[in-house]
């Protein structure tokens, strides 16, 4: 493999992509959409709170009083503490039932239960009719963390402090039918936003890759190129170029995101308390590192597959039919994240997260909203890596055989033969 030629192909591809209108458009538009979406939902969620009537039920953790004080001190939310009780184990369930009934009757908006926890002193649950407002949840969560810290942190157990800060507030929705877990976790935002990024970029860039190859094929440029570089050099260069463009786009977005988090949001937060949505927590270093791993591998795998799909087509019309099989797993993978996020440890979620085509979505969602055993995460990454290698190998062979073929598009059986023999 002539690395200089690979570099030249990659360079051309990169420049062609970065200069394209589609690239500039999406690079600027997508963050814009997120901002619009974010502020609209933020506005919608904030406007309907005139009063938040809460109760605190302390199962003998000793921080109930502190939490009550902190909740009342939140200026951004009009919280009224209706009741703050410390109950002995025997009557806990009865008190909780009474509270839930109060919610159903409309006398109360929600209540916090503080349960003793051997590791971090107390874990909190939030029972309410409405648990979907990120601003409220974020605020309550921080009040709980602060209260726990103040009562328990003595300066000796520094390492545990971080865990308390990272603890999510468990939310339970109370309705006429009963009580069910759900509502809003901070982890949802990052899973959704980052999963969406993987989805959009693989889908968009994969399609562009296939389209570019079909164009090169139909304009017969390919004849000129394939006489000068090998099919593998050509494919490698193209994929590197596309990857480079993808990473550039990502870097721009992350840069914009950082500017937003560091400068724009604090300014907004002064005015309306949006900062309660703890972004630094949602996009923690751990989350971002997993994102980079799953993004890179998933992107590479899909872009390679799309390159192979493009090589088998003679015209853009043909490509439109052929593209669907490549898009399907991306769609399934992305939309499965909604299931996986709510059922991270269900059997189906586990299965999905070990199938390389879906791993970038399903495993990323699992590590983000739950804490699956580390070996499962690594197994998923390993299988995905294997998937990337298989797709690169297979695509290179299909590519080499079909890139100069014109006429009838190869059937699945023909493609299988190419992979086996070529």
């Amino acid at each position: 493999m002539n690395l200089n030629k690979v570099t030249q192909v990659a360079r051309r591809e990169f420049i062609a992509r970065v200069r394209s209108k589609a690239f500039i458009f999406t690079t600027l538009l997508v963050p814009g959409l997120f901002v619009v979406w974010g502020s609209i939902s933020g506005l919608l969620q904030r406007t309907d709170i005139d009063e938040l009537r809460l109760a605190v039920v302390d199962y003998e953790t000793g921080i109930g009083a502190n939490l009550t004080e902190r909740l009342e001190a939140i200026e951004a939310l009009p919280i009224t503490i209706e009741e703050s009780v410390e109950v002995a184990p025997a009557e806990q369930e009865a008190v909780r039932q009474r509270m839930s009934d109060a919610i159903r009757e409309g006398d109360l908006d929600g209540y916090l239960v503080l349960r003793p926890d051997s590791e971090i002193l107390a874990r909190a649950q939030y029972f309410a009719r409405e648990t979907g407002n990120p601003v409220i949840i974020g605020r309550l969560e921080r009040a709980v963390s602060a209260a726990v810290l103040e009562n328990w942190f003595t300066g000796e157990e520094l390492t545990r402090v971080r865990r308390v800060q990272g603890a999510d507030l468990e939310t339970i929705t109370v309705s006429e039918e009963g009580e069910e877990a759900g509502g809003f976790w901070v982890a949802y935002i990052s899973t959704f936003v980052l999963g969406m990024l993987i989805y959009m970029m693989t889908l968009m860039h994969g399609q562009q890759m296939a389209l570019a190859i079909v164009e090169e094929k139909s304009s017969r440029l390919i004849e000129l190129i394939i006489g000068a570089v090998t099919a593998v050099e050509f494919m490698a260069g193209k994929i590197l170029g596309v990857l480079g463009a993808g990473l550039t786009q990502l870097a721009v977005w992350i840069g914009m995101g950082l500017v937003a988090v560091l400068y724009v949001l604090p300014a907004l937060a002064m005015a309306d308390g949006l900062m309660d949505l703890n972004l630094a927590e949602a996009f923690s270093l751990g989350t971002l590192s997993y994102f980079v791993v799953f993004f890179l591998l998933g992107y590479l795998m899909y872009v390679t597959l799309f390159a192979a799909i493009g090589a088998t087509c003679n015209s853009t019309e043909e490509l439109q039919h052929a593209m669907f099989p490549g898009m399907l797993p991306i769609l399934i993978g992305f939309f499965s994240t909604f299931y996986v996020m709510t059922n991270p440890n269900a059997f189906a979620s586990k299965v999905l997260s070990f199938i390389p085509l879906f791993t970038p979505f399903a495993m990323f969602a699992r590590v983000n909203v739950a804490e699956p055993p580390l070996w499962e995460v690594w197994l998923g990454i390993l299988l995905l890596l294997l998937g990337v290698m298989v797709s690169v190998y297979a695509a290179a062979k299909v590519f080499r055989v079909s890139i100069l073929m014109h006429g009838k598009r190869p059937a699945i059986s023909d493609i299988w033969r190419m992979v086996k023999t070529a």
Binding site: N4, Q8, R11, R12, S219, L224, G227, A228
Partner: protein, 308 residues
Amino acid sequence: MTAETAIRCEDLVKNFDTTRAVDNLSLEVSPGQIFGLLGPNGSGKTTTIRIVLGIFVPDDGSLLVLGHQDPLSVRDQLGYLPEERGLYPRMRIDEQLAFLGTIRGLSFREAKRRAGDWLENLGLAEKAKSQTLELSKGMQQKVQFAAAVIHEPDLVVLDEPFSGLDPVNTRLLKDLILEQKARGATVVLSTHRMDQVEQMCESICLIHQGQAVLTGKLDEIRASYGKSTVRLDYDGDASALAGLEGVREVRDSGRSASLLMDPTTDAQMVLRQLLDRVTVRGFSLEEPSVEDIFLDKVGYDPRHEVES
């Protein structure tokens, strides 16, 4: 160049599914000359070219390109102008030219420099930043030619380089091809323009149905036909030219015609017959033109569309 021959093909065979595109084809191209590759559409010319350039692998036969059995091992010494032109439609032509140079082994810096020089020479300097789409057909063709030779290859293969060019650009391209020869490169010219072949090529190979039906030095080929062709300028009814005794084929062009005589025919006898039938404005005895030879070997078949 050190190799004795630029290209030597022996008994090349290439099949596509059920059709045999190249059928035991042998040809030899001496270095430093302009070599004409002739043949009707679908004769296997382009397939042969692709084999020589290493784009296709032959099913059988032996191949020696610039002294190497595998053309890909000397791919940076090969230049190619494909018949169906290909340039990136939305790429600046200076960058395009440089890119096509780098994938033939030039460094980026050198390719960029040469791309600038070429555009200067072609009178396209002010178009350097334009996209292919903004260029006229003739300009695109010139850029495409530059792309084929920017890396100064030892072997340049040009597939139908003159198609679609106006007379001015045809003249320019001819000069550029001669420059390549002067530089010492071997040029293989595949074309239907018989007049170009006549003017430029020292040797030719005529391919028909995948086989080399005629190959050798152009002068020798023509001499071997002898002065057996009558060039006739006439006024009158074309149908009067039918059934001339001693003439085996008439190629009528309206006011002039080529008459292919049987080897034993006396030209005077043909002239006497003609004087009775049409008004003769000119009558000369010549060696056959390449076109005559082409049609003689391939056989004129009106169903077969021949590009020009």
